[in-house]
């Protein structure tokens, strides 16, 4: 203030032409610094902000591997089964046990808890239908193929595929046959044992190996269709606008927000770090804040959990999955399976790499990382600021050297990505 008065006094003694020159200089300086302050964005920054806004999200692409993907009847059946705890070995676990609607389809725990503790953090399902790869290591190439994995995992739902076929026949036969035609003759338990499948349980595995190939195939088809109805429901779980989106919508072409402030100065400063020196948009880009790719960001291990090898294992698993897009239970033409056809299947960069998660609703979906290693958003920002040290593979991070104030601002911005109704 004192400087401004001095400057005005000095200018005042100079006559109007000189005053004009001085005013021009101040104007230029003001125009420039406004761009660095609270809310003026340059054209190049504005174009980045608009790529992050939800209104640029394209319509959900079709899933050619799932003919029922966009059938409302399939989504309705899928929704009922999603919440049905009968679809588990102990009768107590549903998909919704770890993917809770009230928690944006996560569970608030470091590890999922199914019939036992699952050494993986439950990822959100919101917007997941856009991704070519499902789960942290991308071991499934569609939502329907993914849905089948926990159903037969001994720690998750702990069931097997003939068990699920029997459940469908007993509880959802009409809905199922309306969608997919007749069920196999499951009443013949000599051919279709109550428990059979290529699972950990020795008895169920032995029973599966004794079944005819044709009967196995018939059960696999029912099992695949179970995944397809669950996926049809999951495809309806789409991201909804956050305060951040309202802010971007309020920006005029000069990069200024009109009307009542929507983001605070700290949140705006955090956004500036997010798209700038925080380098966050290198992976968290697009309207879902993810590139759906696999990266090694030197995430620390979790106590008592074997180190996860990430994409290098996921790539091998998805290629060998009979329920993948190229497999016999897919509805796609081989040429449509572009994710599998052009996937990177080997290489050093796959070791220790995990899928970039969406940041939408991130403040509500902790703890973070594939085994919930980082409890809070502050921990996450601190990790990325520090650059980390990879326990395996190649660390893609570099130290950011953000100040304490900047890390707080970055965290404040991340909290603006929560769906508006809850914000």
């Amino acid at each position: 203030m004192r400087h401004r008065r001095l400057f005005a006094h000095w200018i005042g003694g100079l006559g109007w032409r000189r005053w004009l020159v001085g005013a021009l200089a101040i104007g230029l300086l003001a125009a420039c610094t406004a761009g660095l302050g609270d809310g003026g964005w340059r054209a190049e920054e504005l174009s980045v902000l608009r790529t992050l806004a939800l209104d640029t999200l394209k319509p959900l692409p079709p899933d050619p591997s799932n003919a029922a993907a966009d059938d409302p009847a399939a989504a309705g059946l899928g929704a009922r089964i999603f919440f049905d705890t009968r679809f588990s070995g102990n009768g107590a676990v549903a998909c919704a046990s770890c993917h809770m609607p009230e928690r944006h389809f996560t569970d608030g725990r470091p590890f999922g808890v199914g019939v036992d503790v699952i050494p993986l953090n439950a990822m959100t399902l919101v917007g997941a239908a856009y991704s070519s790869w499902q789960t942290w290591n991308g071991k499934a190439d569609s939502q329907w193929a993914q849905a089948l994995l926990p159903l037969e995992n001994a720690l998750e739902h702990g069931g097997d595929r003939t068990f699920y076929a029997h459940l469908i026949a007993e509880h959802y036969a009409n809905e199922y046959t309306a969608l997919f035609g007749a069920l196999p003759e499951l009443g013949d338990v000599a051919r279709f044992p109550r428990h059979a499948g290529p699972v950990e349980d020795a008895a169920a595995r032995a029973a599966w190996e004794q079944m005819d190939f044709a009967d196995q195939n018939a059960v696999n088809q029912v099992f695949a269709n179970l995944g397809k109805v669950l996926a049809a429901y999951e495809r309806t779980l789409l991201p909804r606008p956050a305060r951040f989106d309202r802010y971007v919508a309020s920006l005029d072409d000069a990069g200024r927000s009109q009307g009542e402030p929507i983001l605070s100065a700290d949140e705006i400063a955090g956004l500036r770090i997010f798209i700038g020196k925080g380098r966050c948009t290198e992976c968290h880009n697009g309207p879902r804040f993810t590139n759906d790719a696999f990266h090694n960001t030197a995430i620390p291990g979790a106590p008592d959990i074997p180190l996860q090898r990430g994409r290098i294992d996921g790539a091998a698993l998805v290629q060998n999955d009979i329920f993948n897009c190229l497999g016999p239970y897919s509805d796609a033409m081989p040429a449509e399976c572009t994710a599998l056809r052009f996937m990177v299947a080997e290489g050093d960069t796959l070791l220790g790499s995990m899928k970039t998660p969406t940041l939408r609703n991130v403040a509500k979906t902790g703890p973070y990382m594939h085994t919930g290693q980082l409890a809070t958003l502050a921990d996450v920002v601190a990790h990325y600021n520090g650059g980390g040290y990879a326990l395996q593979g190649h660390n893609e991070l570099t130290q950011l050297n953000l100040t304490t104030q900047e890390t707080r601002q970055l965290e404040a911005f991340l909290r603006t990505l929560t769906e508006e109704a809850e914000n």
Partner: protein
């Protein structure tokens, strides 16, 4: 020094400072800083001067996180189309130490020196290079395209 010349000096200083401030801040927001003299053209001569290659993208402008299909046209330096070539393709971000999330391939020879390239994907903005290794009748060379996404 007269008051006028002092004012002029101040004016120049302000302009220089404010320009430097803007430019410095813009630089700070760039996550990658490729060499200033990079050639981003879609037609380039191969490294040993044996071929001239041109790419056209079915999607323009190039978008991130989408599977892209290109057509690569290969000709001799005299302008004759190169047919029957075996072509490998890879992408890389020189400043990040990683490549594409996909393994693109040449999936069809379209005739007239044109080849269809499928499965290209760029998962982040910044400086990318796309390298084609061309083997035409035992004559081998590579051509590199620079891209700014």
């Amino acid at each position: 020094m007269s008051r006028l010349s002092r004012l002029r000096s101040l004016f120049i200083l302000l302009v220089v400072l404010s320009s430097a401030g803007c430019a410095g801040s813009m630089g700070m927001h760039m996550s990658s800083n490729p060499p200033a003299d990079l050639d981003y053209s879609a037609t380039r001569t191969s490294d040993n001067g044996l071929f001239r290659a041109t790419y056209t993208s079915a999607t323009t402008p190039l978008a991130i996180n989408e599977l892209l299909t290109w057509t690569l046209h290969v000709e001799t330096m005299e302008g004759a189309p190169v047919e029957g070539a075996i072509i490998g393709v890879s992408g890389d971000m020189p400043e990040h130490g990683h490549g594409m999330p996909t393994q693109p391939q040449v999936t069809a020879e379209l005739g007239g020196g044109d080849y269809r390239v499928e499965g290209m994907q760029f998962q982040m903005g910044g400086w990318w290079i796309v390298i084609f290794a061309i083997d035409a009748g035992g004559v081998q060379d590579t051509v590199t395209f620079n891209l700014k996404l």
